[in-house]
């Protein structure tokens, strides 16, 4: 309640009460050894009595270095991002940094503003999952603080990033469908402007080539941005006489949409996709999911960033690229194979 703007006791107030100078208070609070036990105690008592809290804003102004790192993601409601954020926080906390989180709420055009805002607030570094393909604002940001990218590679920037084995995972999951005899696999993908979009399509394609199967271009739908668009695309494909015998989805939201389409159509065909999700194992659907540790992406990104922060005075390290492994998980009933065609849902 004391808190009208600028209220609150200062070190000076504490000092007055403890009958020492503000300087001594500062020393006590910093655990500086050169203070007598007696004054120490008086100071702590005064701190307690006043409910004094050190003003970190003033402190960082003086010291230079706010102890904060910024994290920019597009959509916290997507578990991928929230887990990533948790990973970042875990490592940041360990190294004494605070994380300031910004969320662009799916609006790509807001990202530059968020990045600028974080820099204005003196974050010492940034971890960004770029929402779009333009990274000019990140180049600008790098003039001020180190920037590490997560889940997307730099485009025209020279900096670190943490990536998922997008190509490998997509290839493996697709291969598993092909191995079951499927030759008409639909591809439901996010916009190709995104790295993950093209990379996962490449994996999909490579698996086909390796299996000697020609992908049917009419079964490839890109540019899906959420569960709703994915559901519609899936529904259209399923409705075709020469529809797919299996689906490949490039992320969790697209899988959700496709699953909903299958459900509404009252049929099921095997589905492979990126990102495991909660309850995937109880759906009773034949799922092949490419799973990876989103927390770990965040942890690694934080480590790369903090490492860069540690080396600020020296030669900045060359851009590094860290990869987080994927593994394929099978859920639900064994696939009936392509011959069986769409099964009615039990």
């Amino acid at each position: 309640m004391t808190a009208r703007r600028g209220g609150g006791p200062t070190m000076h107030d504490v000092g007055k009460l403890a009958q020492v100078s503000a300087m001594t208070v500062s020393r006590v609070l910093k655990n500086d050894p050169g203070v007598s036990q007696a004054t120490r105690e008086r100071v702590f008592a005064a701190v307690d009595q006043l409910g004094y809290r050190r003003n970190e804003t003033a402190r960082s102004l003086r010291l230079g270095g706010s102890g904060m790192i910024g994290l920019v993601v597009t959509n916290l409601a997507n578990p991928f991002y929230s887990r990533l954020a948790l990973g970042v926080q875990e490592v940041a906390t360990e190294y004494g940094f605070r994380v300031v989180l910004s969320n662009s709420a799916e609006q790509v055009e807001k990202e530059p503003g968020l990045v600028d805002g974080l820099i204005d607030h003196q974050v010492e570094g940034l971890i960004v999952v770029p929402a779009g393909s333009r990274q000019k604002h990140l180049a600008d940001a790098m003039r001020h603080v180190p920037v590490v990218l997560a889940a997307r590679p730099p485009a025209g920037l020279d900096t670190d990033c943490v990536l998922v084995e997008d190509f490998h995972g997509a290839r493996e999951a697709t291969a598993s469908l092909l191995a079951e005899g499927h030759t008409r696999i639909a591809f439901l993908g996010n916009p190709p402007a995104l790295y993950t979009g093209t990379e996962r399509l490449r994996g999909f394609w490579a698996a086909h080539e390796e299996a000697g199967v020609e992908p049917d271009n009419t079964l490839i739908r890109q540019g899906l941005v959420d569960a709703a668009t994915a559901e519609q695309a899936a529904a259209e494909l399923l409705d075709r006489a020469d529809g797919p015998t299996a689906l490949f989805c490039t992320n969790n939201r697209i899988s959700h949409g496709a699953i909903r389409a299958l459900h509404k159509a009252g049929t099921t065909i095997p589905l492979a996709g990126f990102d495991d999700f909660e309850l995937s194992d109880v759906l009773g659907l034949p799922l092949t999911l490419v799973s990876y540790d989103a927390d770990e992406i965040g942890r690694q990104a934080a480590r790369l960033l903090i490492d860069r922060l540690d080396q600020r005075d020296g030669q900045p390290p060359a851009a590094r690229r860290v990869t987080v492994p994927t593994r394929v998980i099978r859920h639900g009933p064994p696939s009936a194979g392509p011959g069986a065609g769409p099964r009615p849902l039990a």
Copy 2:
């Protein structure tokens, strides 16, 4: 890269380049009308050339008021909290505040430290979803800044909160099971130390009383903290000869655990619970879910807080209590009623 601690150009640098004083730069950046167009342009040019960004830390030190509000939640990975966070951000941004997010990662004992840290960083107010039942640290916090509680009522504090219709929702969902003839409904609940725990149990109980059904105490399990503990509790109950014919779960994680237990047991009985979740409609289970808008909790909490911030100099408003409505959603096949007993899963 320029960013060793304390680096970066200052207003003074900009001024020198534009041949004006730092004060004039300040005025230009603040859109102060009393500056000639010519100098304006020179200043902007200099800003551009230097890549200057105003130091918000110094600014807020001077102005008093950081423009930040703090949000403390236990687990961002839970969609309930991430949606709440989105709601807070939405309103905060609208009013020109930045949100600093802290996550206690399920460790109740970390919460006081997070709150203190946010205060040290000069947040102007706090929104907290208290993890435990002790709120002493929040009383301390209120000495410094206004605090608004979300999803839990204050205990021994005099401040605003935003609540869900816990009692009402639980009663309604339970009543719907009772109306189908179930008399042996298991209650799977979180720790009774939590408000939501007791409140939802009250609703469960009230529905029974109204239906003239005596709840079986041996079917009531409280203190479940995550999906795993819930799964185990559900499994034990389902294993009993005189087990329940329906389940009531007090939150999404407990529902997930229970659903997994049902799945592993290869049976299904109707399940009612708090929190709708993704794909709930596709599970093919008879679900009765109490749904509400978690974003809205965040939005309302932010509004209450900002309103308090606006009134800092005047008389602080009396503690307000806002309620977010619930509604009951039915998914999956119609309930077979209690007579049918556990059905084998399709």
